[in-house]
């Protein structure tokens, strides 16, 4: 059983811990650099990439603004195709449906395709509590599950592990839950993949119940789509007698032909391939082929809350490609665990507060600040989610949620700044004080030999008291000895 993200510290604390781990930094830098180059190469092959992004974003916007109609249509199509449709308001309700299906078939294990929705609802932990083992079958998910670890990337959850660590996990853990790793296992990725193939094959062949998510759900035809690489998805979708798919309500697209853009955008954005090795589509039950009992759980779990946020609702366009993680300078350095959620990186920094609401817990409220607002995520996003704008709006929401009668130090500082900048006389006085302080600090630095300079300007090492938080991660130059306005006055704009 894997751990959960419950009780994770706020982002700044978690990030500090991650930044102190040189192995993690090295694994992440290698992985994100590799995938960025692959993505850039295959995106450049598509001449009309920008038009595809615009079309994809518009399809999703149209769906979201009429989501109730599309969900009813999806329910109708799925039912007509022999699927049983369930609705789940919460994580608990979704997990209860899966547990009930498993119990009805008398099984104590299910095989799972990698799925963000089932991770979000902590399905494995819910099932374990009822004595049902959920076997992750995606290689990276298997590494995370066997290592009793947490996922740190949407697409490659074990991106923080290198091959030597993976080999050690396989050798130690595989035998405890099934076929052990081969005795002569090496850390060659091909050998590690082979070990996973052998370990999981017996589980696939005996599984009665499979569990999946879906990348897309087509309202008109009742078709679910799973995009994958290894064939573990096909195994889970095809071999078991019973299939339960947990699908977020925002995954719906109106018609089959709308997949034209999404199946072009997703693999190139995600794994940096022209096409992923396997995509499966199925519409309810196909007689004589695959599972003959098919359940679909439509999951809200905060999505209707996110939908009500006029700025933030665009986050529901997300197709979980993880391109924004790979280009993010913050993610590249901290990794995914610091975000305290199955949705890390830039999309996680907006999706978590939108799904959960702000003002309730410190961890969620810290996420909109886990960004430099550089905008690389927006440029990479195949459905054009303007993540920086949503981050800024969420920061405002966090501030509003924490307003009380007594202003904090930041609010006081801002008010003082407003008063100073609001009057030429007060600004001039402040500038004179600042120049004095600058000269004093320079003098002290000369005496104490703490003379650090960048671009010719002396830096203050570290501020005392409440200012320490600012200088922890930034260089603060000493105040200039003369302000621009004083210089202008003295030299008549440089003429003297």
């Amino acid at each position: 059983m894997s751990r959960t993200f419950l009780g994770m510290p706020p982002f700044p604390a978690a990030a500090r811990e991650a930044l102190a781990d040189p192995q993690l930094r090295s694994n992440l830098a290698h992985a994100t650099t590799t995938i960025r180059a692959k993505r850039a190469a295959v995106v450049a092959e598509v001449d009309d990439w920008e038009s595809l992004r615009l079309r994809a974003a518009a399809i999703k916007d149209d769906v979201l603004l009429h989501l109730d109609e599309h969900l009813l249509r999806l329910e109708e199509s799925l039912t007509a195709r022999g699927a049983v449709v369930h609705w789940a308001r919460t994580a608990e309700e979704a997990s209860a449906v899966v547990a009930e299906v498993a119990r009805a078939h008398g099984v104590d294990e299910v095989v799972k395709v990698k799925s963000m929705a089932t991770q979000e609802v902590e399905l494995n932990e819910h099932l374990a509590a009822q004595g049902i083992s959920a076997w992750e079958t995606d290689l990276a998910e298997l590494i995370v599950q066997l290592g009793d670890d947490l996922p740190s990337h949407i697409l490659v959850p074990a991106i923080h592990r290198n091959r030597a660590e993976i080999r050690a996990i396989f050798e130690r853990e595989m035998g405890r839950v099934g076929r052990p790793a081969p005795d002569d296992l090496t850390d060659d990725p091909a050998r590690l993949a082979e070990a996973a193939r052998l370990h999981l094959r017996e589980k696939f062949l005996r599984a009665k119940v499979g569990v999946s998510g879906a990348n897309f759900a087509v309202a008109d035809s009742g078709t679910l789509v799973v995009v994958e690489s290894e064939g573990n998805g096909r195994m889970c979708l095809t071999l078991p007698e019973v299939l339960v798919s947990v699908v977020g309500i925002e995954k719906v697209v109106p018609s089959w032909t709308d997949l034209d853009v999404f199946l072009t955008l997703l693999p190139r954005s995600s794994t940096g391939e022209r096409m992923n090795p396997y995509t499966s589509t199925w519409s309810g039950v196909t007689p004589g082929d695959g599972p003959q009992e098919v359940h679909v759980v439509l999951l809200d779990n905060g999505r209707s809350r996110a939908l009500a946020d006029e700025v933030g609702r665009q986050a529901l366009r997300c197709i979980r490609c993880s391109a924004c993680l790979n280009v993010c300078p913050v993610y590249e350095r901290t990794g995914g665990h610091a975000y305290g959620s199955v949705y890390p990186g830039p999309i996680g920094a907006i999706l978590n507060p939108l799904l959960k609401g702000v003002g309730h817990d410190e961890q969620t409220d810290s996420l909109p600040y886990a960004s430099t607002l550089c905008g690389a995520c927006f440029e990479a996003c195949p459905v054009r989610i303007d993540i920086p704008s949503v981050l800024v709006d969420l920061r405002a929401q966090v501030v509003d949620a924490h307003r009380s009668g007594v202003p904090g130090p930041e609010a006081l500082a801002m008010r003082a700044a407003a008063a100073t900048f609001g009057s030429g006389r007060r600004l001039a006085a402040a500038e004179r004080a600042s120049a004095l302080a600058g000269r004093a600090i320079d003098a002290v630095a000369r005496i104490t030999h703490r003379d650090r300079r960048v671009g010719g300007r002396r830096l203050i090492g570290r501020l005392p008291g409440p200012g320490a938080g600012w200088t922890d991660a930034r260089d603060l130059p000493t105040p200039p000895e003369e302000s621009f306005r004083a210089w202008w006055k003295r030299t008549d704009g440089g003429a003297r």
Partner: protein
């Protein structure tokens, strides 16, 4: 109130007042024929084997693609004769696990991405058939090759299950280094006809 009614109610409330129509731009791509040479190159990029032959040479190409003495299964309706192959008469996954290779046809193929799509009708078989054996030999006719993903989507019937195959199964989960061959067939052999 049921979960269904509550979710639908919450969704309606969330978008109340912003129901305006959204202008969805159509896909603006010229309708081009699929480039068969490009398809062959792109399949090979995935480290799959591509062999080209004339319509008369298919059966010889299939025989050459199959290892000597390998057990082979074929679906109903395959328009080619594969010597020594067993027919799929409801084999269990465990039965299929003991079979080396499967030979099928395809429904459509995509040039720009090197993708083969099966819709699991006659000649293509149940989904499990092309999943469990370790070698998949797939016959694609030149007239089945379309230019891009949107053209393939238009040709397919959503009522059928479909499997889109781009190379052998693969993973990049270990340090993002690509390894061919995980759970699906570890070898994909495409016979391109015409």
């Amino acid at each position: 109130m049921s979960a269904r009614d509550e979710i639908l109610g919450a969704v309606r409330e969330a978008v109340a007042g912003c129901r305006g129509p959204v202008d969805v731009p159509p896909l603006d791509r010229p309708d081009r024929d699929g480039d068969v040479d490009l398809f062959a190159d792109r399949v090979a990029d995935y480290r799959a084997t591509v062999v080209r032959c004339t319509p008369d040479g298919v059966e010889a190409a299939l025989a050459a693609a199959l290892p000597e003495g390998a057990s082979v299964v074929v679906p109903d309706g395959l328009p080619y004769v594969v010597a020594g192959a067993v027919a799929d008469d409801g084999l269990t996954p465990s039965d299929l696990d003991a079979i080396t290779a499967v030979v099928t046809a395809a429904t459509v193929a995509i040039a720009t991405t090197g993708t083969i799509v099966l819709s699991h009708g006659p000649g293509e078989g149940r989904r499990v058939l092309t999943l469990v054996p370790d070698l998949h030999v797939c016959v694609v006719r030149a007239d089945q090759v379309v230019d891009d993903v949107p053209a393939a989507v238009r040709r397919l019937d959503p009522a059928r299950p479909t499997t889109w195959i781009s190379g052998p199964s693969a993973t990049s989960d270990i340090e993002l280094s690509r390894v061919e061959g995980v759970h699906g067939p570890r070898t994909l052999h495409v016979v391109l006809v015409g």
